[in-house]
């Protein structure tokens, strides 16, 4: 039993660390933290990663991937979090690209993949619908064949950053079969098509990232169908098993914990420094101890992936525990800052604590999404009950 990286991996770690130190500049960090230029920052950062050849670690090497081992991917993610650098926007690079790579034809690969790699197209995901959340197979958006086009009608919801998107990948119903999972197809839709409307949804963090996307007789060329008609569910499921290496977000949570400790050293309450308050320490260690366990849970999965295993229900476990810990930390961070968390907007008249408080509250509010998206934690519990416990 040992938990150490090989010498080659440690060497790789140094390279990655150096890259983030140089390329994730203070100017870029400031703009990323400011949060107003989401698209501009993401595109600029992803182009830097692309120039280094590191923008798509999950892709096959011949298509622009890195050829990294699971451990190397893990190290990259860890160093990225430690540097405070943003993840790539996942919809193109991590979500639609693997489906195109595995199930698309050569023409589709040539048409879409290079543009995704270079961050020339912005993608969004069209899965959930107003009537279909955790029960994804209940989706109703219809695509009817009309000559060499599909005519799409329906609505998708919770579509993150649809307002910036050039393309949306959608699950649509192309047929009705006894089994609801059949008759679903995976299509790519140009957001500039006639009949596509994006309605903003303002969320409780006073921010606009979510949208409803409505399709009204949208004509989609049949060559935008990925794989076989009616088989989209299989592709979407295969995609869900992809990119599981950082689902627990251990590094982010470790970073957040360390920052909370620093904040608590500066904050005082009626008895002295907040960090010395036994009640506060108890809350902190309730989380830190679980985080230590999560870190080793994550490493155990990594070790088994390195040995060639595909993660199964362990991913659900990491998702549940990872998101519970993230939320607990978000709450504690907000409370550590105290009344400044009430600050709605950050402007130049306010001090550093206003900024810290406001952004912590924002993260706390939007952080509620983590236990809902990607399969709610209750659905994940169903997965574990079935797969592991045989219930």
């Amino acid at each position: 039993m040992n938990n150490s990286f090989s010498a080659a991996d440690l060497d790789f770690q140094q390279q990655v660390r150096a890259f983030f130190e140089i390329e994730f500049t203070p100017e870029l960090r400031a703009r990323a933290n400011d949060g107003r230029d989401v698209k501009g920052v993401a595109v600029e950062w992803q182009k830097k990663l692309y120039a280094k050849g590191w923008v798509a670690p999950g892709w096959p090497k011949e298509l622009g991937g890195t050829g990294w081992t699971p451990v190397q991917k893990f190290i990259f993610e860890t160093e990225r979090c430690n540097a405070g650098a943003p993840d790539v926007v996942p919809f193109g690079l991590k979500m639609v690209a693997p489906v195109i790579i595995h199930f698309g034809n050569d023409e589709q690969k040539a048409r879409f993949l290079p543009r995704i790699l270079k961050s020339e197209d912005w993608w969004c995901q069209g899965y959930s619908e107003p009537g279909s959340g955790s029960d994804l197979a209940a989706l109703q958006t219809k695509a009817e064949k009309d000559g060499d086009h599909y005519v799409v009608n329906g609505a998708k919801i919770w579509t993150t950053y649809a307002q910036y998107a050039d393309w949306i990948f959608c699950l649509v119903r192309t047929g009705n079969f006894e089994k609801r999972q059949q008759g679903i197809s995976f299509v790519l839709i140009d957001m500039k098509s006639k009949g596509v409307t994006v309605n903003p949804i303002h969320s409780i963090d006073n921010h606009h990232s979510l949208n409803e996307v409505v399709f009204d007789n949208v004509r989609v060329p049949v060559e935008n169908l990925i794989g076989q008609e009616h088989q989209g569910w299989t592709y979407a499921k295969a995609l869900l098993a992809h990119e599981r290496t950082s689902i627990a977000e251990v590094s982010n949570s470790k970073r957040n914990l360390a920052e909370i400790i620093e904040l608590a050293k500066q904050q005082t309450n009626h008895k002295g420094r907040l960090i010395d308050d036994p009640h506060f320490q108890q809350r902190l260690s309730d989380i830190e101890i679980e985080l230590m366990a999560l870190e080793y849970m994550d490493l155990r999965v990594l070790a088994s992936m390195s040995a060639g295993d595909t993660p199964g229900p362990e991913a659900s476990l990491l998702k549940i525990k990872g998101t519970e810990i993230q939320q607990a930390l978000q709450e504690l961070r907000m409370e550590t800052i105290g009344a400044y968390s009430a600050s709605l907007r950050v402007d130049e008249f306010q001090n550093e604590l206003h900024r810290e408080g406001s952004s912590s509250r924002k993260e706390y509010m939007y952080g509620r999404a983590a236990t809902i998206y990607g399969g709610s934690n209750e659905v994940q519990r169903n997965v574990i009950a079935k797969a592991v416990l045989g219930l």
């Binding site: 039993m1 400790i261 108890q282 902190l284 490493l299 070790a303």
Partner: protein, 380 residues
């Protein structure tokens, strides 16, 4: 990176599983558990023959030369079948303290006897006023020629009733609560001035309160410097017990899932209820957390680059997690078994009681979490 037990450790585990299948059913266990000593001397002799009693001892004394990972490998299996034989008192506590002794003659003489199964021991540390504080020691040891005489009281000494030899922590200088001034003494359990009152614990193990009235003891630690080596022994024992607890948790969860699949109410197996399924998922996750932190702790303790502070922090975290999650798993196991969970006939309650015992040894959840807080965030 590798979080699995190695081949030798797996063989060791397999040998315990195989032996237990043939000799340690719940009914068979009850027979030895209920005799006067609370365990079977015959089994103990078998453990010696199979080499299990040699695991933690250095090769120079005839041992297997195992470390904390090897120890955890075997206690995890012992936990699954609720061994009542005195592995913890003799092998881990007495044996651990003996191995940490600076007296080579004593080690050369006694360790082979433990390995052969001929010697039972106990480690007498805590006193009526100590609670979980190893430095809170009143028992005194005074030099008298070549030996020392000990006077004082020790409470809940695990395996103290059947022990042939005792290792006793006593004060040779300083004030009560001082960490320095404590020394370790070997005392013949049947010597003049040693009075033992043995009793049964809730999980079937045996313990004793022991009174020393000018009993003769032999110094086996550095004079006044026994505190730190003893804390290391307790740390190792803690991890071994957490491994035992992980075996208990796994068994409790498995038993509970199986039970809910067979128990029918409202015309269906109760395992079909989502409210119960999610509770069983939560106890499964609680076990996985423990298993993960356990292997992490084993890795860190086996790594010579791990600092003393980090090691103590990880062990404190593990003990806290085991105590909390063990309680959750135990409580849920009883609840999901319904009324049957309250019966002595089912195994569930027996596993729960052993878990409760483990969570009382050397410190409970509050004690270890407080220790973790101090190590991590400073004195509160």
């Amino acid at each position: 990176m590798n979080f699995e037990f190695n081949e030798e450790q797996m063989m060791l585990k397999d040998s315990i599983v195989k032996w237990a299948q043939d000799n340690y059913s719940f009914e068979q266990r009850a027979v030895s558990r209920n005799n006067d000593e609370g365990f079977s001397r015959k089994h103990w002799a078998t453990f010696a023959e199979l080499g299990w009693l040699s695991v933690p001892f250095a090769e120079e004394y005839g041992g297997y030369g195992g470390g904390v990972v090897d120890l955890a490998a075997i206690t995890q299996e012992f936990g699954k079948v609720l061994i009542t034989e005195p592995i913890t008192p003799t092998l881990i506590l007495f044996g651990g303290a003996l191995s940490a002794s600076v007296d080579d003659n004593v080690k050369t003489q006694l360790i082979p006897q433990i390995i052969e199964g001929g010697l039972l021991g106990a480690l007498a540390v805590y006193e009526p006023q100590s609670r979980f504080d190893v430095s809170n020691i009143k028992t005194s040891a005074t030099a008298s020629g070549d030996v020392y005489v000990l006077t004082g009281s020790k409470s809940v000494v695990l395996g103290g009733g059947v022990a042939d030899q005792l290792l006793v922590l006593a004060r040779t200088s300083g004030e009560q609560n001082d960490e320095t001034g404590l020394s370790l003494f070997l005392v013949d359990a049947n010597a003049n001035g040693v009075t033992r009152s043995p009793y049964e614990l809730m999980d079937g193990q045996r313990a004793a309160d022991i009174n020393f009235d000018n009993a003769v003891g032999q110094l086996v630690s550095e004079l006044d410097q026994a505190y730190e080596p003893l804390m290391n022994v307790i740390e190792t024992a803690s991890v071994a017990m957490c491994a035992e607890a992980s075996g208990i948790m796994e068994t409790l969860n498995r038993t509970t899932v199986e039970y809910t699949k067979t128990r029918k109410q409202f015309g269906v197996p109760i395992s079909s209820f989502q409210a119960l399924q999610h509770r069983m998922v939560d106890t499964f996750m609680a076990y996985e957390q423990v298993k993960s932190l356990l292997v992490g702790t084993l890795c860190e303790l086996s790594d010579e680059n791990t600092s003393v502070l980090r090691a103590s922090k990880v062990v404190a975290a593990l003990r806290t997690l085991v105590a909390k999650n063990g309680k959750l798993i135990g409580d849920e196991a009883i609840q999901l078994h319904g009324g049957m969970g309250l019966t002595d006939e089912l195994t569930v309650g027996h596993y729960v009681k052993r878990m409760m015992m483990i969570n009382l040894m050397f410190g409970n959840a509050d004690f270890y979490q407080d220790k973790f807080n101090q190590l991590s965030y400073g004195q509160s």
